[in-house]
């Protein structure tokens, strides 16, 4: 029964409204609270946010300065260590900690150095997709009419292409598949989701009275778009982008696993998972550790996205 929630929000509203009055200086102690500020206060108390952001911070640190975590080279192998899988728990962080792979390279070192590829792909694809998709969605939603019709059909066409299959086809066109090529392939197909979310959000915000009020004041299109519409349409985009970031990381791993994404000598979790599968019976650890890292990373971003969603939209709780 929707009316129940309505009254519930009415109560909430009566609660949220501090009893401030022009004639009551008693309420002065109350500080200015922006919506972003409220969301941040909410986030800080959310354990999911704390766990995921600590994890993500660690991952960022690893990818920026991998040598802080290991001195071993991820590519230098010594066949002496071939498949030596016995974990030596006493020496956390040493090259032999998580064992060696077929070519005697330290699994731990490869794990650390492989982080960078995943994080770069995730962050760059998300950045490009949010920028391009955001602009497309904003134009499409704000201007409407034929502009919207053209952009929406274009979005539909790209949306219709199966994401991984499409990325494979794009990747086939490149001889040398560097991280940047993978970023391009994923971004090329990934922008549609953000476009749709942004378009929907802009259409909703566009009808708000404060947008009409700005127009009535004589505000120009740029001002209306960037001062009124964008800040109010950002919330769902941020949430979707954060969750999608995890998806892009796993997409990169999937492509590498299939042999179409990154390939040796590039160090990446996907490449290692691909190599590990073949030896799963003799040396499961070669497959296990990159898989765990990958899952943790994806999980961290999805958890962060959910936490942000809850903070930005308290009605969901």
């Amino acid at each position: 029964m929707p009316d129940v929630t309505k009254t519930a929000t009415a109560v909430e509203d009566a609660v949220a409204t501090p009893s401030v009055d022009a004639s009551a200086p008693a309420a002065k102690s109350e500080k200015a609270r922006s919506l972003w500020g409220d969301a941040w206060a909410d986030l800080r108390r959310n354990p999911y946010f704390i766990v995921s952001s600590v994890l993500i911070a660690l991952l960022l640190l690893i990818s920026a300065w991998p040598t802080l975590f290991t001195s071993a080279s991820p590519t230098a192998g010594d066949l002496v260590h071939h498949f030596l899988s016995k974990p030596e728990l006493g020496s956390i962080g040493s090259p032999e900690w998580l064992g060696y792979d077929q070519q005697g390279r330290s699994v731990y070192a490869r794990l650390i150095h492989g982080t960078r590829a995943s994080i770069i792909v995730g962050i760059c694809v998300t950045a490009i997709v949010t920028f391009v998709g955001g602009i497309m969605g904003m134009i499409s939603g704000y201007f409407g009419g034929w502009v919207d019709a053209v952009l929406s059909r274009l979005t539909d066409v790209f949306f219709g292409i199966p994401f991984l299959l499409g990325a494979m086809v794009v990747l086939q066109a490149f001889v040398e598949r560097t991280v940047w090529v993978v970023v391009f392939a994923l971004a090329f197909l990934g922008w549609t989701q953000i476009t749709r979310v942004m378009r929907g959000a802009v259409i909703t915000v566009k009808q708000a009275d404060y947008v009409h009020a700005a127009k009535a004041l004589g505000a120009g299109t740029t001002r209306i778009l960037f001062r009124h519409i964008l800040p109010n349409a950002m919330a769902p985009v941020i949430v979707v982008a954060t969750i999608a970031l995890g998806g892009y990381i796993s997409a990169e791993a999937t492509l590498s696993f299939l042999g179409l994404g990154l390939a040796a000598p590039t160090v990446s979790w996907g490449v290692d998972i691909s190599a590990g599968v073949a030896q799963i019976r003799v040396a499961p650890h070669v497959l296990l550790w990159p898989s765990i890292m990958l899952s943790l990373t994806v999980l961290a971003f999805i958890m962060l996205g959910e936490a942000v969603r809850n903070a930005l939209d308290p009605k969901l709780r």
């Binding site: 949220a16 409204t17 501090p18 401030v20 022009a22 200086p25 002065k28 109350e30 200015a32 609270r33 922006s34 919506l35 972003w36 708000a208 009275d209 404060y210 009409h212 009020a213 700005a214 127009k215 009535a216 004041l217 004589g218 505000a219 120009g220 001002r223 001062r227 009124h228 800040p231 109010n232």
Partner: protein, 362 residues
């Protein structure tokens, strides 16, 4: 290009000229807004139109309050949007100081906007939730920097807060930290920032609690006197409109049914729709409920996409005759009252206009 620019400047200069009290500041002539109804996905074909506003004319005089009443869907809010140029009129003119503003754009339109401002219905959606109160009220100065030099703005915003009865120290707070009535005060302050001559109020108090409504109405009355404002006050609450208006227009299905001074409309209505509307308003006096005559209309307002022929009210009117379906009544002093010096002699669009008192007179 240069010509247009020059022309704009001339227009802008003309618009800043003062208008004397008692002269019309806004003249609306045969204003129309038809929203096309389309069919088809790729090739859109127009299959009809919603006649939201269908030929409305009235004058707004300097310093007065003109109330526009009507039920939902009668087009009163669309009139507000047309006057604000938030929607483009399908036909008709709006003369502001003799200049038709419906066709303006660019600088000339911006100049007009300085002088015609709006207060919105819903104080919860009319303020940008991500901006501070200071930014909201100060935004008019960002858009029209010539009104206030940069260093002066903070002081001006604080003055405005004080004028509308809010603590000037609240300048850094966000809208959600205020109650409905306070937010509406913020909306009014924003409307006042550019020192406009006309304020169009679209249901400014209908979203507020009863005890707060009175505060806002009193504030608007005070501001009108202080700044010599002309109000176009759009509302569905007939009691509030009577309280605040000098003249009142009654709209039905995109047309003006009756217009006159508040006394003419409330005490001497001649249009059957006005009479029904007035008689239906619940009066907060239980003594009155026994001996009040109420005209209960049957049915609902017809769809503006397919209005009845002739008089649009005839489908619900108890006086309707053959003539009403064939001939659209024009808004004028009805023939039987012409030349008479009675309060019933005011504009009413009915073939069978007849005075009938429905509101108890004290």
């Amino acid at each position: 290009m240069a010509d247009i620019g020059k022309n704009d400047e001339a227009v802008a200069a003309a618009l800043d000229a003062p208008v004397g009290r008692g002269e019309p500041i806004l003249q609306v002539r045969n204003l129309q807004k038809h929203f096309p109804l389309t069919q088809g996905i790729l090739f859109k074909k127009q299959v009809g139109a919603v006649k939201a506003v269908d030929g409305v004319s009235f004058d707004l005089y300097q310093g007065e309050t003109l109330g526009i009443v009507g039920e939902s869907g009668c087009g009163k809010s669309t009139v507000a949007k047309l006057l604000m140029n938030l929607e483009r009129a399908t036909a008709g003119e709006v003369f502001y100081k003799g200049q038709d503003i419906t066709k303006l754009s660019g600088r000339a339109l911006k100049a007009v906007r300085r002088n015609i401002q709006m207060v919105f219905q819903d104080p919860y959606t009319s303020l940008n939730p991500r901006m501070t109160v200071g930014d909201i009220i100060g935004e008019p100065y960002d858009i029209h920097p010539e009104v206030a030099p940069k260093g002066d703005r903070r002081r001006k915003v604080q003055e405005l807060l004080d004028v509308v009865g809010l603590n000037p120290e609240y300048i850094n707070r966000y809208p959600h930290q205020f109650s409905g009535g306070q937010r509406q005060r913020i909306g009014i302050a924003r409307g006042l920032a550019l020192n406009p001559e006309i304020i169009i109020c679209d249901e400014p108090v209908s979203a507020l609690d009863v005890s707060v409504q009175a505060q806002v109405i009193n504030l608007m009355g005070k501001l009108q006197e202080e700044f010599n404002l002309s109000y176009l006050f759009i509302a569905h609450d007939l009691s509030i409109v009577r309280h605040i208006s000098d003249r009142v227009g009654v709209m039905y299905l995109g047309k003006m049914a009756e217009i006159g001074t508040d006394e003419q409309i409330y005490e001497h209505p001649t249009h059957p729709y006005t009479q029904a509307l007035l008689s239906a308003v619940p009066v907060p006096d239980p003594q009155a409920r026994a001996h009040r005559e109420r005209i209960i209309l049957t049915g609902d307002v017809p769809s503006p996409a397919n209005p009845p022929s002739g008089c649009s009210f005839r489908t619900r009117c108890w006086k309707a005759q053959e003539r009403c379906s064939q001939e659209t009544p024009i808004l004028a002093v009805p023939a039987r009252f012409q030349g008479q010096n009675t309060p019933a002699a005011h504009f009413s669009a009915c073939h069978f206009a007849e005075e009938k008192q429905v509101v108890p007179v004290h």
